[in-house]
Assembly symmetry: C2
Homo-oligomer: 275 residues x 2
Amino acid sequence: MNDHVERRERPVLTNPAAERVKQVRGLSRRSVRRRTRRILVEGPQGVREAVHFAPEKIRDLYVTAEAAHRHADVVEPARQAGVVVHEATEEVLAAMCDADTPQGAAAVVDWSPASLEEVLASEPRLLVLLAHVRDPGNLGTVIRGADAAGADAVLVSDGSVDVMSPKVVRSTAGSIFHLPVVTGLPVGQALAALGAAGVRRLAADGAGRHTIDDTDLTGSHVWVMGNEAWGLGASTREACDEVVRVPIHGHAESLNLAMATTICLYASARSQRND
Amino acid sequence: MNDHVERRERPVLTNPAAERVKQVRGLSRRSVRRRTRRILVEGPQGVREAVHFAPEKIRDLYVTAEAAHRHADVVEPARQAGVVVHEATEEVLAAMCDADTPQGAAAVVDWSPASLEEVLASEPRLLVLLAHVRDPGNLGTVIRGADAAGADAVLVSDGSVDVMSPKVVRSTAGSIFHLPVVTGLPVGQALAALGAAGVRRLAADGAGRHTIDDTDLTGSHVWVMGNEAWGLGASTREACDEVVRVPIHGHAESLNLAMATTICLYASARSQRND
């Protein structure tokens, strides 16, 4: 009942130059995200996952009339969870968003990284540490793949692309709300902490003598993945317990980072679940 | 010796409005690719693979002075193989290319799809059939993943994105020169021909009762992958021998197409090679 009253009272947002629109658009800037600790979630799939997994963290949800109708399975649960839902025009959505096609839905959501201590305290079985990942699409796709493979968390080193950027968030397809993500880790310190916690450190690198198919992947371990262009540094490889490669059976020089990571994580998931 | 004479005589291309530049740029258009049966290969990695795997098909290679120096491992073998190498300015390269950053190297290469008959005559063990793939990055990444997994060919249905488009070619990272690609296949006819050739048809679909981990993947088979948005149609699934799913262990709704395909192909490669 209250819902209905509220819905009628809130005017449709029609002015792309309004202060509110500029504030949302500001989340495309790293400095604003840092200060506000908020992220912009674009598109119905990401918004749906925010509504299901972190409704209390949604500050505002913006939808066009058409999207509100087409994605009632997102908007109605949001209203029931007490989320403030604004109807807005396509132009307003476009002015707010970084994506070319936000598909009529966007949300501003509080988001904080997890800490490595918290993750280690949860006795993780399967982790991935990305060292100096630079491409937002890669990082987002790795988070999505890690989620699908059932990893316990994603660890991101310092010097990496910002997890909170709209492009990363989009590429996660909502998985950013499904598992903890730790950011800003110095690689050496992270590897030391993982080792001390009894997590086996597997460097994924073409130089590995063993492949994912002939490595024991049953126990607790972390996949350590290098930068897209230059891979893992020698000191990082040496700080790991083993160097393992994804076999290349054809003539391809390599797989891309997201692909290689997901293949490693799925190999682990299969071994651990058959264990 | 002849090489050196030729190199001195050919002038550096400096005019971004020249007819030759327009002709190369024309390869961004499907109609021009269809008529000329040529593709534009952008960036040193793709060019390197063309030089190594299909030097006789390269019509022209364009490089900046800087790229010629930095990628001598590409340019010198090209010259030795008789490829016509043109030095061009950055501006000319930019005017020729579809990519924002062609990284100083591009080639025009004759390219033709393989036929399904040829592929079947080679007694393939591992294939993938993409039904109505629409995103160029997905198609290119699948070709790269199929190459890495050692698949024998990639089959692409009618109604799919054009394999010859610059964005697809870029996303293959050179793998388009490593394995046969068949295009324009009506899905039903292709499945019938594959079945008649004794290739087991596995529909990859979330509706599968069995997963890639509990399906026998040792014999000759083809993975049949659906469209990014709507997956496989019921009639396609029913025309396959089995429906198999990639397990989702976390909360992710799905994996993206390229990811799911590569995971399926790697599961097959592992089973077939341990067989």
